[in-house]
């Protein structure tokens, strides 16, 4: 946020990697087998940042997303991303150190810090189970479709 002469640049990939590495080192004692990932993006008028705490098989997958209206807040895209990253880091600091029972709303909700308004959302997911469920349902549907095809009738995908 206070990097002179770089206010208008976007966050470079190596900087994101560096920040990710710092997060993983800073919170190493709390991470167990999990790790952080950071990504940034840009939508019209908005800067988007996602900091995800997850494990390898994605049975724990916690993306915290932030978005900030750069024009309304008079911030560059880079400044907005760094601001959001700072705030999300503060949140994860509290989350990890306070027994992981501090959560933020699952849908976009307004927040304010240091006079800047922005929105955050986040939800703990078990993507491993979700994928397994999708696969199982997919197989089930495929089998069902195949059976109905053999019988010459269409499957009822919606049951009353």
């Amino acid at each position: 946020m206070k990097i002179a002469g770089e206010q208008n640049q976007e966050l470079a990939q190596h900087e994101l990697e560096e920040l990710t590495k710092i997060m993983n080192i800073r919170y190493a004692p709390y991470l167990r087998s999990r790790f952080f990932e950071i990504s940034t993006g840009k939508a019209p008028g908005f800067s988007l940042v996602t900091m995800t705490l997850r494990n390898a098989d994605e049975s724990f997958y916690y993306p915290v997303e932030g978005r900030l209206d750069c024009d309304a807040q008079d911030l560059s895209h880079r400044e907005s991303c760094l601001f959001l990253l700072d705030y999300i880091e503060l949140y994860f600091n509290e989350f990890l150190k306070d027994g992981e029972d501090t959560f933020i709303p699952i849908d976009w909700s307004p927040f304010q810090c240091e006079g800047v308004s922005f929105e955050l959302k986040g939800q703990v997911l078990n993507r491993k189970y979700s994928k397994m469920a999708d696969r199982l349902l997919g197989e089930e549907l495929t089998n069902e479709s195949a059976m109905h095809e053999c019988r010459g009738s269409k499957p009822d995908l919606i049951t009353p």
């Binding site: 560096e18 710092i22 993983n24 080192i25 190493a28 004692p29 390898a56 601001f83």
Partner: protein, 608 residues
Amino acid sequence: MADRLSESIGQHLVDETGLGYQRGIMAGFPASPCLLRLDLQKIMEQDHPGRLIRSLPVQPLYHALRERGLGDCVEILPLLSQEQFVRICDYDVWDGERLAPKQLLSWLSLYRESSAGEMFRRFSRLDEEYQLACLAPFISVFTEEDYERMTDDQQDSLQRFPGNALYFSVRAEDPVLHRQICELMDAAMSEDMSYAMQLVSHAGYAVPNEHEHLLTQFRKARIEEDGFVSYEESLSFFRPVRPSPLISASQNLSISGNLQPQPAASSGRSFLERVLEASAAVLDGRELTSIQAGLLCLANGLCSAVKMEPGDLPGLRDTFAHAQALISLSLELQSDASPEKAVSLLRFVHPKELFQTGLGYVHDLRLRVVSALDRAGLKEATKLKGYAQHMKPGLVAAFFDHLSEDMISLEQAEIMKGLFNRFPLCPLESSSDQKENSPARLSFHPISSLKDLQQLLLHLEAFFCQLALLRSGADKSLWGEKKGLSLEQALARGLVRGILGQRFQTEDLNLAEVEQFAAATDEQLHAGSNAFLEAAKQMLKSSKSLLSQEHGEEEDSIRNAMSGDAYSEYGLDQIRRLAKRLIMARREPSSLLWAYASTGSALNETSC
């Protein structure tokens, strides 16, 4: 380390002392013997639990309360002595050098669940500085004249004392904090009105931060008694003491027969835990308490060194585990793994010294590694030697962190970083099941035993064994001259030639060599591989390991361990596996290993 994440961009991840990352990177650890475990449930079932609780040391009591959950400790908290409560506040209600009023008021709110009077009594018996530092930022005081000048709305927002001579308002923005302060003031006004008025007057007119500053000094003095010494003083803990040759190390450190890494000690109990158990039968209560206090003091000192707050329980547990690991290593090596001898050592040698000796063993190994890297031709090795000699292992770890994968594989770099970590770590050998599930995963844990040290030596020796082989086949220096050629790539090329019966050379393979290797049968290649490995074994036997060359005249434990053939055999075993993989990989042109071997002129020719 910068406070804001964004300010960390471009900064080195090592602190100014060069000691390394502030925290070790590792998985969770079991409870440490450095900290006495208290069963609060059992204590509460005794006839006089209050007397018992007031006799307990504060830090273990604080950890036990936090582990039980403060919400479940409402009936225990009133039994604490005021001195214990003050010490708990010293541990828990601070955020660095700043008081965290909300945290202090949260503790007091727990007392309120017993009674409002108990809450007030606990607060009013705290140091005056605690009371004022907690309330001063949030209390505004108004006289009758001020009150008269206010609008109706402003007047309604104030609280008044009897007589309407003094008014006050709570100006905390946080609604929880606001409620807590109001509850405290209500309790104070109902218990002792004159005290409440004095408190508000003093808090309202207090010089900002004055009381907090004073309190910081008092707190610092108090927690120093527990071992949370100043950061500068804590750095002395990391001065390694050179281990004396107390033991017949060749018996202990050499590996005979089974070359596979031994199961890590962390799966069972550590040597220190066994020694403490043995000491319970031999030593009297006072000596045991003294040992326990020494261990806790050391662990707390290390927490200061890693700038960890006394209230950071998960962090403290990890730091305690590191302290335990190096003490355990030191005791095991110095006592010849005899619990009886170790009990005597623990009785007469301060845990800090044991920790430093444990670090000394690792420091010795670190010096050998950088020397070996120097001999292997690493350009920056002289600089690394300087860092290692001046006890700045963190700078060496940072070097490996930034080293290109072209020069050293990720796994080797991680092992090096583990060795040069402030609290040294070694790779944990995963079981075959785990390997199948996540073959690329490398877990680390603190070096806490002889077996861990052996495990680390095996990895290092395998690495240096590969380097020695490569050095024999490289016309130029391994590093620096030819950028973009990784060690594994060079090894793969040399192996292809070696298996084909040619001279081991790391130059690019030509098309004929690639085709010859691809067309040969498995039997031919396995026979070629065996012949090559036999020749390599003879070559490695005739030249000493890179790791064990320099300290030729020194008779210490680590050197003895290095001189055996077992380690080079382990290194050859790794090369044998690589050769096997290479033979398999030739059928899959997309495999990375085969691409490694065949990249260069041969691949270009093939592509053309």
